[in-house]
């Protein structure tokens, strides 16, 4: 099955669809991959104002994509002007990374020749 181009040449349907996907008008390099820090609008609670911060990573390819969003910190400002940044600590992830580190460390130590 072929697609007729304006210049009289023909290309296959899949080539044309790929062409459409790759030459999308808004597509630039940063649309394919990006890491961004996101901030929410201020949430008010009594005298305090919160700004919720998150990290967003996206990876895009012509037929799909991947996204990962992660909470980073909470910026708290009270009525006196004092601003405090409270990091969001992920204990489960730290423990998982630690156990992976134990495995890697044990492999390195055990493979060292005496």
């Amino acid at each position: 099955m072929v697609y007729f181009l304006q210049d009289g040449n023909t290309i296959s349907i899949l080539e044309k669809i790929s062409h459409t996907l790759y030459t999308h008008p808004r597509r630039g390099f940063m649309d394919w991959f990006g890491i961004r820090k996101l901030s929410s609008q201020a949430v008010e609670h009594g005298p305090q104002r919160f700004e919720l911060q998150a990290l967003a990573l996206h990876l895009r390819w012509p037929y799909g994509g991947f996204t990962w969003k992660y909470p980073l910190a909470v910026k708290v400002s009270d009525g006196t002007g004092l601003v405090q940044v409270l990091p969001v600590v992920d204990i489960t992830r730290i423990a998982q990374i630690l156990s992976l580190a134990i495995i890697l460390l044990s492999v390195i130590l055990m493979r060292r020749k005496p």
Partner: protein
């Protein structure tokens, strides 16, 4: 179906593909934190905001084909499909009272135990293999 009809069919399909692309762009590169932080919940004098890690993957595919029989009759067709999956895992809960704000971590004991048991089993197995002289 003639090749001209085929190309017309394709031209009709391209706006649909662009719509799918736009929808995926909005989903994947969305710049809001709503997916990570849930809407604040008021509980007495406290304000509670749950926070989660969100992971999403999606894709689609299109295909077409055609053929011709010995009698001269032929046919062609095309189709497409897509799918995706979103995973979310609670990470922490932000608890705000009138006087203080604290971030309470959500600890998944099962995941932690599984990770450490795996590490422990790996280390023990490697030690045994080393003692037997296989490493």
């Amino acid at each position: 179906m003639t090749e001209l009809e085929n190309s017309q069919m394709l031209e009709d399909a391209i706006p649909a593909i662009e719509t799918v692309q736009d929808t995926m762009d909005q989903f994947i590169a969305g710049a809001d934190v709503d997916a990570v932080y849930a809407a604040p919940i008021e509980y007495g004098e406290q304000l509670i905001i749950p926070a989660a890690e969100v992971l999403g993957i999606m894709g689609f595919g299109v295909g077409s084909g055609g053929g011709q029989e010995a009698s001269g009759e032929g046919g062609s067709g095309g189709g497409g499909g897509g799918g995706g999956r979103t995973f979310a895992r609670p990470v922490a809960v932000i608890v705000a009272s009138q006087t203080q704000v604290r971030v309470e971590p959500v600890v998944d004991v099962t995941k932690i135990a599984m990770a450490f048991f795996t590490a422990f089993a790996f280390v023990i197995t490697t030690l045994i293999r080393m003692q037997r002289g296989k490493l």
